[in-house]
């Protein structure tokens, strides 16, 4: 009993956290500032649990408890003042964020097809509502609808795939069922990968991403692009690691095509965007292409590289979207690239964090993005995907351009055309979260061994 309580402590704390927040809202005269504080406390507990190194927990569960704890904590900190000033802060927002994190944790650590589906759906259902949390904003509602309808479709595809795998193998355990092999299992795995590819916004099914990220409030977009992507990528890595050689032979060429197309679509699509949030959305599409490439090489060190890259990506995307949120005026988000002109001199700290995150997204040293790309391409080359890796490097070079475009807008123009010129103050929680993200991006870039060592320790010296 106690062992089970220890094992499921992160899940329990996230689930209870959501309940406590909603119940606190039922009491009379609950101060509105209580909700983010409660959410922060309950979001921090899984991280502490994973730092304590519990016995019997799986490596991936431990890693993701820590990663999702950081992501949720940063999201809550970035959202707190942002939402309060724009009048959409409430108990439901924080409760749903916690429950969404619970779904992501279940998804990332799932051994079982049913748990994978339940986790994915719990995470997504909460996110659909959170994306539309700014009720007065028609863009947010549109984004939620654009996320929800294809999301429901992709879930149906995933469930159908899981059903086929079960029909072909007679097992719901992911490892056992995929090891069984056979054409039906391969077909099921293909459908499941399509469903997961939608959530990861891999190329032919990525079209929802820019609209949703643009419509969602900036800190929520950060949560969407980091937490949900990281957890779904864990599921992708798991499925790819367990796929039978026969299924690999059948599906890997398609996956290679998808990965290449995703890198190209993301990086080229971002070139002519005028909206910063859309640029960030396309950039996150491109990053997922690299993750898909690492997933193909998952048994040749690609898994560890992808886990490192996901952590780095979480830090830099939280930094970028968080900075966009903190630099925004009272109405709407600061979205136009031209609205960022000269901000680097007016708000050096927030603009600096944004610049560091963008340089990391572009993969320039000395940031975490460079190390992550280096590891991922190294793993792909070691696994023998030379053509794909070369193509990826070309697209990554293209990707430097749009990141530098925003950085240039921040620093290269002397005239301050930013409107509104003075955004709302960042607030202690948001400022701290942004600072930690930017510092984390630099620290992971300079001392990658700290995280790589932890990953290697968790996954048995990989």
């Amino acid at each position: 009993m106690t062992a089970q309580l220890v094992l499921y402590f992160p899940h329990l704390s996230l689930a209870l956290g959501g309940l406590v927040i909603l119940l606190a809202a039922c009491l009379r005269r609950t101060p509105a500032t209580l909700f983010p504080i409660l959410a922060g406390v309950f979001a921090a507990l899984p991280g502490l649990w994973s730092l304590a190194g519990p016995t019997g927990a799986s490596g991936i569960g431990c890693y993701y408890a820590g990663l999702l704890s950081v992501i949720t904590l940063a999201t809550v900190a970035l959202t707190a003042r942002y939402a309060a000033r724009r009048g959409f802060a409430g108990d439901a927002l924080y409760g749903l964020v916690l429950w969404s994190a619970l779904g992501m944790l279940l998804l990332a650590a799932s051994d079982d097809w049913l748990m994978l589906i339940v986790g994915l759906e719990l995470a997504s259902l909460c996110l659909y509502a959170v994306v539309a949390s700014r009720l007065s904003d028609p863009l947010g509602t549109e984004a939620a609808l654009k996320y929800f309808l294809p999301g429901a479709m992709s879930l149906a595809v995933l469930v159908f795939g899981a059903a086929l795998v079960y029909a072909g193998s007679g097992s719901l355990i992911i490892a056992d069922s995929l090891a069984a092999g056979g054409p039906i299992v391969s077909a099921g795995l293909a459908l499941a990968l399509i469903g997961i590819g939608f959530k990861l916004s891999l190329a032919p099914v990525h079209l929802w991403t820019p609209d949703v990220y643009q419509g969602a409030p900036a800190p929520i977009a950060a949560f969407l692009s980091t937490g949900s992507k990281a957890a779904t990528a864990a599921a992708l890595l798991h499925l790819c690691a367990e796929a039978s050689p026969e299924a690999r032979e059948l599906l890997w060429p398609a996956l290679a095509g998808v990965a290449g197309l995703t890198m190209a679509a993301g990086n080229i699509g971002a070139l002519c965007q005028k909206s910063v949030k859309r640029i960030l959305a396309y950039s996150s599409i491109a990053q997922m292409g690299y993750i898909a490439m690492a997933a193909m090489a998952v048994n040749d060190g690609g898994g560890e590289a992808a886990l490192f890259y996901l952590a780095a990506f979480a830090l830099m995307d939280l930094g970028a979207f968080g900075a966009v949120g903190l630099l925004s005026g009272e109405i709407g988000d600061r979205d136009d690239v031209t609205a960022y002109q000269g901000l680097g001199y007016v708000h050096p700290w927030r603009a600096g964090a944004l610049a560091i995150s963008l340089l990391s997204l572009a993969g320039l040293p000395p940031t975490a993005g460079f190390i992550g790309k280096f590891l991922v391409f190294g793993a792909a080359l070691r696994a023998g995907y030379v053509g794909l890796a070369a193509f990826g490097i070309v697209t990554a070079v293209i990707g430097i351009f749009y990141a530098l475009r925003v950085v240039a807008a921040l620093y290269m123009q002397s005239g301050v055309e930013a409107h509104p010129a003075i955004p709302a103050p960042a607030g202690p929680a948001g400022g701290l979260a942004l600072g930690v993200m930017a510092a984390g991006v630099l620290a992971l870039g300079l001392f990658p061994q700290s995280l790589l060592g932890a990953i290697a320790a968790l996954f048995g010296g990989g």
């Binding site: 309940l19 909603l22 119940l23 809202a25 039922c26």
Partner: protein, 139 residues
């Protein structure tokens, strides 16, 4: 011992082919061709003589009034969602009750957690005004 009667299907197989993908392909091709022909002919043969009454949206012969896009009160929708939630809860409780002798105390405790969490959900919906039949405000 009388020989057991072999299973004989009532009808001969509908398709002259072995069951396979071919009938489906033929059927799909026919559907596509018919659709293409209908769409092409209706665009090609039609002569358009628009009049104001033809341009009106078709409302079963009634003259349409007001705009089509108006905010629609949805209290019934909320009630339907709540009903669905608690209906599913009933299904779980009944299936638990059937298995009561096997499950014993551990099963009781597990279901108690489930019911309590759902009860908290009901309290939340109540406090937030989700159960008020207010067509103007809603939840």
């Amino acid at each position: 011992m009388p020989p057991t009667a072999e299973f004989t299907p009532l009808l001969a197989p509908f398709s002259p082919w072995e069951p396979g993908a071919l009938p489906l392909v033929v059927f799909g091709a026919i559907v596509l061709v018919v659709m293409a022909v209908i769409l092409f002919l209706s665009g090609f043969l039609v002569r358009r003589r628009p009049t104001p009454s033809k341009q009106q949206p078709y409302e079963c012969g009634i003259r349409p009034t007001g705009p089509a896009r108006f905010r629609y009160p949805v209290p019934f929708f909320l009630m339907a969602v709540f009903f669905l939630l608690f209906d599913v809860e009933t299904a779980y409780i009944i299936s638990y009750a059937v298995a009561w002798p096997e499950l014993g105390l551990p099963g009781y405790l597990r279901l108690a957690v489930f019911v309590i969490v759902l009860g908290l959900g009901l309290v939340y919906a109540w406090r937030k005004g989700g159960l008020d039949w207010d067509e103007e405000e809603g939840l």
